[in-house]
């Protein structure tokens, strides 16, 4: 092979590789990305039925119900306007608490109950997922739920 032809072959091979990788990555991306919805969006029917998505909000006070000795637990995720009941069977994270932010991964059933296969509460008590913060930023938020703001790292400088 002449140097020119070899270079051509190489360039074509690289382009083909990049194109294939790009297409497949996009494909995987489209199929596997999970969107985030808050309870109001779920109530409006914006969340897909039968597809996994992330549900985020506050765990409503007094909503955590568990039959003694059973792994299954039910709680309500709220954004103080609408709320969604959640079912989960598994070990809850350390920072899962009533009145705290939470993100659940799972599917919405036809009965309007969200069945979670993963529940996340972030590892900082004052931490709130930005999506949750944003969806909670509404005038309807009752004063009782406002926690004293004590950021983990005080603003300086």
């Amino acid at each position: 092979m002449t140097p020119r032809r070899r270079r051509l072959v190489l360039v074509l091979a690289i382009l083909a590789g990049v194109a294939i990788a790009g297409t497949l990555a996009l494909q995987a991306f489209r199929e596997n990305v999970m969107f985030f919805f808050d309870p109001t969006q779920v109530a409006k029917g914006e969340a897909p039925k039968g597809e996994r998505f992330r549900l985020g909000g506050m765990v409503e006070k007094g909503s955590v119900v568990r039959e003694p000795g059973k792994l299954e637990v039910q709680f309500v995720v709220t954004d103080f306007q609408r709320s969604v009941p959640v079912h989960y069977a598994g070990v809850l994270p350390d920072l899962f608490r009533e009145g705290q932010g939470v993100v659940a991964h799972g599917k919405l059933g036809a009965d309007g109950v969200f069945t979670a296969d993963e529940v996340l509460a972030k590892h900082d008590e004052n931490y709130m997922p930005p999506e949750v913060t944003r969806s909670l930023k509404s005038p309807a938020q009752p004063a009782g739920s406002a926690r004293p703001s004590t950021p983990a790292v005080a603003p300086q400088g």
Binding site: I14, A21, L24, A28, F36, R66, G69, V91, A152, G157
Partner: protein, 651 residues
Amino acid sequence: MLPELGHFALILALLLAGLQAFFGLAAPALGRDRWLAAVVPATAGQAVMVATAFACLVASFVRFDFSVAYVAQNSNSALPLVYRIAAVWGAHEGSLLLWIVLLACWTVAVAFGVARMPVRFGARVLGVLGLVSFGFLLFTLATSNPFLRLDPAAPDGRDLNPLLQDPGLAMHPPLLYTGYVGFSVAFAFAIAAMLEGRLDQAWARWTRPWTLAAWAFLTLGIALGSWWAYYELGWGGYWFWDPVENASFMPWLVGTALIHSLSVTDKRGLFKSWTLLLAIVAFSLSLLGTFLVRSGVLVSVHSFAADPARGVFILAFLVIMIGGALTLYAWRAPLLKSDAGFEFASRESFLLFNNILLVIAAATVFGGTLAPLISDSLGLGTLSVGPQYFNPTFLLPMLPLIALVAIGVHANWKRGRLQARKRPVVVAGLAGLAVSAALVFGYYAGRPGLALVSFALGAWLVLSSLVDPVDRLRRGLTLPRAIVGMTLAHVALGVFVIAITAVETYTAERDIALARGETAHVGGFDFRFEGIDAIEGPNYDGVHGVVQVLRDGQPVVTLHPEKRRYLVQQSVMTEAAIASQAGRDLFVALGDDLGAGRWSLRIQIRPLVNYVWIAAALMALGGLIAASDRRYRPSRVPAAEPVATGQGSAA
């Protein structure tokens, strides 16, 4: 007094870094050779000042100085000494200072190294490093000063985040940053070469050991972080494709491409501009990683409190450094012609494909990591990208890469004559397939498919990499360290592939509710729950569960998964109990009291998971061994460099 001294030292360090950058870059550019003499003193002064500042912060932590805001937020009077020291880099301000300290360490080492290189080139390298250091010092002083006082002083500290009170995490940031920061050396060498307008094989030989060392530390840092996440976060996973993990993984992928591309530039004088580009990109990704972590734009377990000013500053710094470097590259790279050729099946070709695949892998990780950010800022909805995306897209370029390595280690430079080496490659391949079949159908008994392929690839790589060194030893030849290191890293990669395949395919896990005396059967083991005991630690109390593990009725081990309550922050932490056996980890985490005498438990059996980290550590060791090869040791008479290093194992 100490905090003020530290603050003052930081300001002096900033000024000295400015001088180091100015003299280092301006002297060669303006032809003022007399200024060259100022570069090394400025560098030394900067390093001393940075070390002083760091020592002051450490002392403030050790002496419980809660009048310093940063200490008050991250320490406590009950915190043990070792974690008071680790708390120095437990949050944003201190970890930035750690970044700067490590940069100073690298700079001092480079100053010794470049003493044997052309003086103007050395000055430029130190100048670029000074510029990087200047940027970070300015950032620290302007937005993240760790020495700010609290008035009045806090009576006691708020304590270090309990998650970080762990030996693994004490070491993770220093190692990871050593790797991150180390790429600044390759970057500085690249910029200096472009400023000189000259890039020869000697340049590549100077750059290689630094890049190898940085890569090795980054490997160790990532592995340690993954290990920490595994046993401390209590989720039982070792890699989550978390944005911050990705932020450290992208420079690693590009850095891996860089060390291979450098070898071509070194041995054959090829890929010059590509090598330069990789050096720029590897460091840019390190900076980007810092930006992603520090600015809080990404959601992650690692993100510290967000502060927009910090984000804007790092972004500006990023744009100046990367933009400047790429502009210089666009201007100078076309001048670097290499006219040597190579045949299709030569080692150069294999390394080229290695580079392409690694860069593609880095690009898919990059896309997945930044997609949520982009989608969010364009108002396209809030999305998250998880393992469902990363696993297949990452595997796609990686599987062919493993096959290419297994064949490519036998290819010759320049000539594409693989025919002569066909036998060992094929035999190793068949042996790999046999090992894979034995594992899938024999030992683990089930779930063929991808596991069959990747076990075979891993085993093939291990065997194929060993053929050449074993052959050399049998012929009575000694092995130069470069080859020992390379072989070790490639074998470790093969082991890594096998271990990952086993964990991903054959992990058994279950969340279960158990009362005292009840047994759960998971993956061939019985886990008998024997109740709960109270425990007490220096700054926490809590409970631990007693879980007796049995196999075929015979007791194997007793595990004590803990649930700790840290007293100062009143936060609850799960400490998983892990028993490591030769072939698997038995993992039990204690969940909640479910009432009616039952507790929830998370039980996992992860085969070969330990070898994931052992392999990563061996890869890093291989990098360090290769970096110490005689060939890279600068000799005062560069012309006398022998072509073959037959007796490299002495000293």
